[in-house]
């Protein structure tokens, strides 16, 4: 028997996920433009693998397969994984990433809506720990043509001797370790572009544009990206102002690595994130803080993934402590 309400907004998980995919397109376009089409190979591979794994797991769990595959959530996860890891990783790394994110991080916890950890970030962390070398071979802008990229992707784990340049974050880290100041590191390295890493600033801009699409279609609220960006800018800005020789500028932090991807697409994963308005602010700010700490003082060039996982753990507590007051129970109500 059907009860009220009898009408529903034409909304669906499929529509939400589809919007996310569309919103990723500007960033993806910039990516291909700056770094070549190799990423598309991994993206296609990951998408097919994601659908296959999702279907397989749903069949094993005796759940409706078509519904789960049709909601596109697996494809979104696959895209986010691929966009988080270097574009020229060998195909089996991509496959592994999809298996970890969808098979383990999502379905081991009960499937859509049940996973406490961000599946894409689980895969990223697992792989960067297991394959640190492969996971840090980022190509420079315009450095490899498509054939070379294809060769790397399909040819297995050949060591990319000297093929890839250090990323901006990497270069900064190595430079700083050797005692140079930020200024000298920047001026002496082709990895640095206008704002962040060369070419990456365009990708970041593309992601930001996609973020606006998500905000405009109300798939996400402003809280998460705003808190993430604000926190990253404030904390990096503070140290930059104190000692510009030792710390990179906020603009550099925001335009480098996966900051924009994270701000609009990663920390906004609804399932594993905080849900209350205040909780979202705390959650995203926490990720930004941890990411900056790891970037500045940690063992990995970028720390967003670890920040996400660490804050995922805190979500139940954050949500519990930030329940908004319900109607009529607000303070100051006469």
């Amino acid at each position: 028997m059907i009860h009220s309400p009898y009408i529903r907004k034409p909304a669906s998980v499929q529509r939400v996920m589809g919007t996310v995919l569309v919103a990723l397109l500007p960033g993806l376009a910039a990516y291909v433009w700056q770094f070549g089409a190799g990423i598309l190979v991994n993206l296609a591979l990951a998408s097919v693998a994601a659908i296959a794994i999702e279907a397989l797991v749903m069949r094993l769990r005796k759940r409706p397969v078509a519904l789960a595959v049709g909601d596109l959530s697996a494809v979104v996860t696959a895209w986010l994984v691929v966009l988080s890891i270097p574009p020229i990783v060998p195909w089996w790394i991509t496959l592994l990433a999809v298996i970890i994110s969808i098979g383990v991080a999502k379905h081991l916890y009960g499937g859509l809506g049940q996973n406490p950890f961000n599946p894409a970030m689980v895969a990223f962390c697992a792989l960067i720990v297991a394959y640190p070398a492969l996971m840090s071979q980022w190509p420079g802008a315009g450095q490899l043509d498509f054939a070379a990229q294809l060769d790397l992707i399909l040819g297995g784990a050949r060591q990319p001797d000297g093929i890839t340049a250090a990323t901006a974050l990497d270069a900064l880290r190595t430079g700083m370790r050797s005692g140079a100041s930020v200024g000298t590191v920047f001026s002496g390295n082709s990895a640095f572009g206008i704002a962040g890493g060369r070419g990456w600033e365009w990708v970041a801009a593309g992601y930001a544009l996609g973020g606006l699409i998500l905000l405009g279609t109300r798939v996400i609220t402003w809280h998460l990206p705003a808190a993430f960006i604000a926190m990253l800018a404030v904390v990096s800005g503070l140290f930059w102002l104190i000692d510009p020789a030792q710390h990179a500028s906020p603009l550099f932090h925001l335009a480098s690595g996966g900051a924009m991807l994270a701000a609009f697409f990663i920390v906004t994963d609804p399932v594993s994130g905080a849900t209350t308005p205040r909780g979202k602010l705390i959650f995203a700010a926490g990720i930004a803080l941890i990411a900056w700490l790891i970037r500045s003082f940690g063992a990995y060039p970028d720390g967003i993934a670890f920040g996400v996982l660490l804050m995922n753990i805190c979500v139940p507590l954050i949500d519990m402590k930030t329940q908004p007051p319900v109607f009529g129970h607000r303070g100051g109500n006469s």
């Binding site: 028997m1 059907i2 009860h3 009220s4 309400p5 009898y6 009408i7 529903r8 907004k9 909304a11 669906s12 998980v13 529509r15 939400v16 409706p64 519904l67 909601d71 959530s73 499937g111 859509l112 809506g113 049940q114 798939v219 609220t221 609804p270 399932v271 994130g273 849900t275 209350t276 949500d319 329940q323 908004p324 007051p325 319900v326 109607f327 009529g328 129970h329 607000r330 109500n333 006469s334």
Partner: protein, 568 residues
């Protein structure tokens, strides 16, 4: 311009109101049979005053209010009472309810009517009059109106809010009433204002009803009243009493509290009109405006006699053949009717004719992705998905902690949910489970109390027996003591010897009984009953905060589970 406030959330479904407002209200013809349920308001069920075979006149009292929290029921037309028997209620439960079945004689002859001049009548009498005229909240909550005609504690009401918002899609009965009978509404409002001693009157109407706003403004001016007609933004559920009060005054009335505690009282426009009709024309509430919309050829508003079978009304609008069911109310909060011939009752603001094409069954339910859409839509500022998780896990304590009972079941959350989860169903389930448990608990509390009282009584009886025995023994002893003087000393030692062990026994029993009484009495009467009392009070308090006393019977049609003063 008055500055308005906003309430959180809300949704904007297609209003679908144009079709039923193109034609004026028309009287529905007399049906061949009227089924008038006796219980049509919150509170006690009126006693039937008529028997089968009796003739009644239009407006004649056929059910007297049962106590003060109840409302009278009248014959909608003149005719013959063919039966007083249970009949199917206008409620999804499919339960039956004692109803008076009347076969109209076609003459529609009025009984003798009472009128009242409200200005010269003491308030108590006025309230009784309104109760006996059977007037209840016509917005759908059917709360007896006379109970709300009280200035709050301070003897004054700051704001009287008249609810003409009518936010549910499809429903237009209030809209049409305001367009056509604005003067009556304003006059009725003046009466309510007089009783409430209200400083200001705000008439809230959603701004998608400009004709109604204009009509009401004209009527207010024509009547020379100082009332303000306020057009409010169209957003469901702006017509919920609490949401409307919030929009107009900025006050948020918390769940379980009465708006009068905050100096505000709210009536539906239809209710104000009914008050006017009752006092100035003497007409008790025997008909109401009903919107017929949905799967019909000519949606329209009808003035329908209470007790008219719904199918008789829908027929006038041309019911389409693929009709599957009727809903009472709108598509957001309406209730599915158990049959096509259930009677129109005082709560029936709309008969929404449904088909699978018009209201298709929702797509399959998917997992909650915690997207928070529901929380953004919730006018009660709840976290619907948390309530959903707790309800699903049958973690009712947690659900209550997350303010389950503040949920007004408006349906906004389910309306927006991309996973198509029937969220409100989960809340209804949880609420009914919690009520059932509390009922069980209070029943078992009563049983325990009864049991403990019996223990106490048995104890007391034992003591009394012992005391009686002791008294008797003492008596015998006294008798024996006097006897030697008559019979000689020889008998005494023997008697004493026989008496002594007995005496010792009795003394011991007495002492034991006394000790027991000392120990037992406070235990059985004071302590425990205080404990029980505390428990009872706790339950009561909880119930007060949840605002839901366990229903003594099936809820009357149209009450849903919202607070009594909610008139969405």
């Amino acid at each position: 311009m008055r500055s308005l406030f906003r309430f959180h959330g809300g949704v904007k479904p297609a209003t679908n109101k144009a079709a039923s407002t193109s034609e004026p209200i028309v009287k529905a013809p007399l049906p061949p049979r009227l089924v008038v349920p006796l219980h049509q308001s919150i509170g006690g069920t009126p006693h039937p005053l008529v028997r089968a075979g009796q003739r009644v006149l239009k407006g004649e009292l056929i059910g007297a209010a049962d106590g003060n929290v109840s409302s009278a029921v009248h014959a909608p037309t003149s005719g013959l009472v063919t039966a007083v028997e249970p009949a199917l209620m206008a409620h999804p439960s499919g339960l039956t309810m004692l109803s008076v079945i009347i076969e109209p004689d076609g003459e529609d002859r009025w009984a003798e009517l009472d009128r009242l001049n409200y200005k010269s009548t003491p308030p108590d009498e006025l309230r009784d009059f309104v109760r006996d005229a059977g007037i209840v909240g016509l917005g759908g909550a059917v709360f007896p109106t006379h109970l709300k005609m009280n200035p709050g504690r301070e003897g004054r009401t700051r704001t009287l809010v008249l609810n003409g918002a009518e936010c549910e899609p499809f429903i237009t009965c209030d809209d049409m009433l305001m367009r056509e009978r604005a003067a009556g509404i304003v006059k009725g409002t003046a009466i309510l204002r007089h009783l409430l001693q209200a400083d200001e009157v705000l008439i809230g109407i959603e701004d998608n009803k400009p004709e109604a706003v204009a009509a009401m403004q004209t009527a207010v001016r024509a009547e020379g009243e100082s009332m303000e007609v306020v057009a409010i933004p169209t957003r469901y559920p702006a017509g919920g009493a609490k949401q409307l009060i919030r929009v107009l005054t900025g006050i948020e009335v918390p769940h379980g509290r009465r708006s009068t505690d905050f100096g505000v009282q709210c009536f539906n426009v239809g209710t104000a009109y009914a008050v006017f009709e009752a006092l100035t024309c003497g007409h008790p509430l025997i008909s109401r405006i009903v919107t017929v919309a949905g799967n019909v050829d000519r949606p329209r508003n009808y003035e329908v006699l209470i007790g008219t079978p719904m199918s008789d009304v829908v027929r006038l609008s041309g019911q389409r053949t693929d009709t599957t069911r009727y809903l009472m109310g709108g598509p957001m909060m309406g209730m599915r009717m158990p049959g096509f011939d259930v009677p129109v009752v005082k709560a029936t603001n709309c008969i929404l004719v449904a088909s699978d094409a018009l209201f298709p069954p929702p797509p399959p339910e998917q997992a909650c992705i915690r997207c928070g859409e529901c929380a953004r839509a919730c006018p009660a500022d709840l976290q619907p998905f948390e309530l959903y998780w707790f309800s699903r896990a049958k973690n009712f304590g947690k659900a209550q902690e997350y303010n389950l009972f503040d949920c007004i079941e408006c349906g906004c959350c389910a309306y927006v949910c991309p996973s198509h989860i029937p969220l409100v169903d989960y809340y209804r389930f949880s609420k009914s489970e919690i009520w059932a448990r509390e009922r069980d608990k209070s029943a078992s509390d009563q049983a325990r109390e009864r049991f403990e009282f019996r223990n106490f009584r048995q104890e007391r009886e034992k003591e009394e027996k012992a005391a009686k025995l002791a008294a008797k023994a003492a008596e015998t002893r006294a008798k024996l003591a006097t006897e030697p003087a008559v019979d000689g000393a020889a008998a005494t030692p023997a008697a004493d010897a026989a008496e002594d062990p007995k005496k010792a026994l009795i003394a011991a029993a007495l002492a034991r009984a006394q000790a027991q009484r000392a120990a037992a009495q406070p235990k059985n009467t004071d302590n425990l009953s205080a404990e029980t009392q505390a428990e009872i009070e706790q339950i009561e308090a909880r119930r007060r905060t949840t605002g839901n006393a366990p229903a003594s019977g099936p809820a009357p049609a149209g009450t849903g589970a919202s607070a009594p003063d909610t008139q969405p």
